[in-house]
């Protein structure tokens, strides 16, 4: 018997579950995504922290605590297997008042309860010895050695690539309208592109997982509230940049603000924590007050560069469930539906552990024991030319001259890398877009924010897909509204 598993949502949760199921015998995996490409929702815009697990209260949120600690371990295996950019940096939860210090001590206690290794309390100067650039006025910090940083979109994309390589199927531009249930059993999903049959439906629809659950008649009181987090990105060449992950101590009033150097070397500060209305699931606007508040908060613990060094700001939304509790469960009715909903922080960290947990749930529901495939294909994450030595670059160009054609000047991305990104996009069945190339190659993530390279990337997409240049997609819209020189070119 082959079990057909439909996963709704190609964010990091859906991608992790897809990967775990794609390595199992006798399971057919179908990932359904409403956007043209993977990782365009919650998973795209966050701090990219792999948490140690000492911030989770094991009494209030035991599942979150357990899966966070496990996830931290599994990401290390996955990232080294698939070459996903991940670095263990350690983190400092910095306190500046006695009240914050009391709060911070709580996390040292949680660390013990959750069996998080490498957590210790640092006082005063000890913090500065670990990370110069921290404001000298800080009182101390909780240090957690196992904190890491990851590129969340590269992680998600690579997991989907590995899932597809191992037999999973991705359907993009496919929006699930409802879960089909017959006689108390899941039969599949109805989408804008037709009906997909399936035995199991995993609801990993992120911000929309409440609405999807409601179509199956379950969790009618479960409502997800978008919590907006704004971020500011600075240039790569600012000084100083922290080596360790820094954040302020979360208190009941203020959530922690992070100051980190991303895996791509930019200084990033954020997020804010603003609870939006239930229907504001697309409201990723930034606000003047939000950004100002970030700079103010971050400045308490670190020297923040001037505004002229800002290259971008953005917002991400986190799916905040009622009481902060993740909804991960199966149902007797409808049998075959698995909710993986309201996965707020530390969802990115826990994603791999959640995936294995979902596997166990399915085993229990269907009363079977999955067997792993004998041979599992491995697709490595894309490599970046800019990270190589001149000698290596020279060698690459001799093998393929497209490496010698730089299309993104700020981040030194070559045509060969853009072509590889497009090949990989098509390989998983996604739609090539300028944003898709940006997330895969970093072309457009530099200081000019794409004003110089967008057209270069668009030209390559046009060459590869045969679309006219003005119709090449930049996210959901074409870059132009038309072609002003059609007549001149005698193309009609």
């Amino acid at each position: 018997m082959v079990l057909r598993v439909i996963i709704v949502g190609a964010g990091v949760i859906g991608a992790s579950i897809a990967y775990v199921f794609s390595t199992i015998k006798n399971v057919e995996v179908i990932v359904v995504e409403k956007e043209p490409d993977v990782c365009w929702g919650v998973s795209k815009a966050n701090t990219g922290i792999i948490h140690p697990g000492h911030e989770e209260d094991p009494r209030a949120h035991p599942l979150r605590a357990k899966l966070c600690v496990e996830g931290n371990k599994i990401w290390r295996e996955w990232s080294s297997l698939m070459n996903i950019p991940f670095e263990e940096r350690g983190e400092l939860m910095i306190f500046t008042t006695l009240e914050e210090r009391r709060e911070a001590l709580k996390y040292v206690e949680f660390a013990k309860l959750n069996n998080v290794p490498g957590v210790s309390l640092l006082e005063g100067q000890e913090v500065l010895m670990l990370e110069r650039g921290v404001a000298p006025s800080v009182l101390g910090a909780v240090y957690a050695k196992t904190a890491g940083i990851i590129s969340p979109f590269e992680a998600t994309i690579t997991l989907i690539e590995n899932s597809v390589a191992n037999g999973a199927k991705l359907l993009v531009n496919t929006e699930v309208k409802r879960i089909i249930i017959e006689n108390g059993e899941v039969r599949g999903v109805e989408t804008n592109r037709g009906i997909i049959d399936g035995d199991v439906v995993v609801n990993a629809a992120g911000l929309y997982s409440d609405k999807l659950a409601h179509t199956a008649g379950v969790e009618l009181d479960f409502k997800i509230r978008p919590r907006r987090g704004q971020y500011i990105v600075f240039e790569r060449d600012v000084e100083p940049k922290p080596r360790v992950i820094l954040h302020t101590t979360p208190t009941p009033l203020t959530k922690g603000v992070y100051v980190v150097t991303t895996v791509h070397g930019n200084l990033l500060i954020g997020p804010t924590a603003e609870d939006l209305d239930y229907d504001e699931k697309e409201n990723t606007a930034t606000t003047e007050t939000g950004l100002e508040q970030l700079i103010k908060e971050a400045s308490k613990i670190y020297r923040i560069p001037p505004r002229s060094k800002v290259i971008r700001f953005f917002s991400g939304l986190r799916p905040e469930p009622p009481d902060g509790n993740w909804l991960i469960k199966a149902y007797d009715d409808p049998w075959g539906l698995i909710s993986v909903a309201g996965i707020r922080s530390p969802g990115l960290t826990a994603a791999p552990a959640i995936a294995y947990y979902v596997k166990e749930i399915v085993e229990e529901v269907f009363d079977l024991k999955f067997e792993g495939k004998e041979e599992i294909k491995v697709i490595k994450s894309m490599e970046r030319m800019a990270e190589k030595s001149y000698k290596e670059i020279d060698k690459l160009i001799r093998q393929n001259p497209d490496y010698g054609e730089v299309v993104c000047y700020c981040n030194v991305v070559s045509k060969a890398e853009v072509l590889e990104a497009l090949r990989r996009t098509l390989e998983i069945g996604a739609v090539p877009t300028i944003d898709g190339v940006k997330f895969r190659t970093t072309a457009g993530f530099g200081r000019c924010q794409g004003s110089k390279c967008r057209i270069n990337v668009a030209q390559i997409i046009s060459e590869v897909t045969g679309k006219p240049l003005h119709a090449v997609m930049w996210r959901r819209s074409p870059i132009g509204i038309g072609d002003v020189k059609v007549l001149l070119r005698q193309e009609i």
């Binding site: 697309e282 950004l291 010698g404 200081r447 924010q449 967008r454 003005h470 509204i481």
Partner: protein
């Protein structure tokens, strides 16, 4: 890795770089010009409007024509050039000797040179640098990108357009969009005066009935997928938003023309001294930066409002480099040029007092009946008016400048009479 060696290398194949390269090649040196785009000619290649060449060619031509003439002049020399070559690093090997690393389709090229002209142009300030918040939908372009889309690639980027910033590129793009049949809703300028040349305000906006909203700012952008509207408000004298003055402009495209900054990342990494007001390097009267035999010209030096000035600087930098190549001793340009009243900057920053110098400067605010004075040398010149949008260019002969040698500084002041 391929290794090559040249007498001089020019970075940037725009007007300043081409002018410098042509001059250096004619003097018999072994010259290499490096350009990272596909074509020579630089930004004027995407400028189909006129207004180029009045000073240099003594006739008014389109940007494309201007670029072609410079390219033809360059191609008639013996100089070598590379296009689609991206320089990632400049190293100083020894005094005045540089090594560049360029990524090209034939491999990484390691280029040694005894002198360098840096003419890599400018970059545009993005929507983030001017702190416009709100959503981030498709349809937000810098003016230069929109211009390239239209006139290099034939793409019409939008139908209903709002332009942020009334610098020359913004004004020219307003007209360009109008000519192609777009509806340009407004040009929004935060300052109480336009950022571009008066002739462009008349020719590009007034002639096309495009509103210019002075003392206004775009506060935020709205739109899920594509831009739907911008929220605009008035600002007070300190450029702060006036509460209650907000209104909406419906549009599908936002063009950001918030000014240019010299593109000097490679110089910054090399440790060249930079100056915050121009954003370019500190130079002497040979346009030589704080590293020996490294001369800078064009928009990499300061943001010019006429391309003719960039060409002039290219030739000047080339002459300066030629002189420095023949000279054994360290060049002494110890007289400091100070920025006095009414001015934002003056370039060059140091002079020798041994030669005529053309000074470029920008006024702090619009002024009428201005006298430009350099007190230390008793130099004075009357200007009818001074506007921040227009560079003040003054050539002072050596006999006047020589007087500054005893004082050690000269201070430029723009005073209203």
């Amino acid at each position: 890795m391929k290794r090559v060696s040249y007498d001089v290398v020019i970075l940037g194949g725009g007007p300043a770089g081409l002018a410098a390269a042509t001059k250096l090649a004619k003097s018999g040196l072994k010259v290499l010009l490096i350009e990272n785009r596909k074509h020579l000619g630089g930004i004027p290649v995407q400028c189909i409007h006129t207004g180029f060449g009045l000073l240099y060619f003594k006739r008014d031509v389109a940007g494309t024509e201007f670029a072609q003439e410079l390219v033809d002049m360059f191609l008639s020399t013996e100089a070598d050039y590379m296009v689609k070559a991206h320089v990632t690093e400049i190293r100083e090997k020894s005094h005045g000797v540089y090594e560049l690393f360029a990524i090209t389709r034939s491999g990484v090229c390691r280029i040694e040179s005894k002198g360098l002209i840096y003419a890599a142009g400018a970059r545009e300030r993005s929507i983030f640098e001017i702190w416009v918040t709100g959503e981030r939908p498709e349809g937000v372009y810098t003016a230069g990108e929109a211009q390239a889309l239209m006139d290099l690639y034939g793409i019409m980027p939008g139908r209903d357009v709002v332009i942020i910033g009334s610098g020359d590129v913004g004004l020219i793009m307003a007209r360009r969009f109008a000519v192609e049949g777009a509806n340009v809703k407004a040009v929004v300028e935060i300052m109480p005066y336009p950022g571009g040349l008066i002739r462009n305000v008349v020719w590009c906006l007034q002639d096309f009935n495009i509103p210019l909203l002075l003392s206004h700012m775009v506060r935020r952008i709205e739109g899920r997928s594509r831009v739907e509207k911008v929220v605009v408000c008035r600002v007070d004298e300190d450029l702060n938003p006036i509460p209650g003055s907000e209104f909406e402009l419906k549009c599908d495209t936002v063009i950001v023309s918030a000014g240019l900054r010299p593109d000097v990342d490679l110089l910054a990494k090399l440790g060249v001294e930079l100056e915050p007001t121009t954003g370019g390097p500190v130079v002497n009267d040979l346009l030589e930066a704080s590293k020996p035999r490294l001369h800078v010209a064009g928009n990499a030096l300061l943001i010019n409002d006429l391309v003719d000035y960039a060409v002039e600087q290219g030739e000047w930098a080339a002459e300066g480099l030629l002189e420095r190549l023949n000279e054994k001793e360290v060049y002494k340009a110890g007289i400091k040029v100070k920025v006095g009243e009414g001015l934002r900057f003056v370039v060059p920053h140091y002079i020798s007092g041994l030669r005529d110098v053309t000074f470029y400067m920008r006024a702090q605010k619009p002024m009428n009946d201005v006298v430009l004075e350099v007190d230390e040398i008793g130099f004075q010149v009357e200007l009818y008016k001074a506007r921040p949008a227009e560079i003040i260019r003054i050539k002072i002969p050596v006999r006047a400048l020589a007087r500054s040698k005893e004082v050690g500084t000269i201070t430029f002041n723009a005073r209203s009479t």
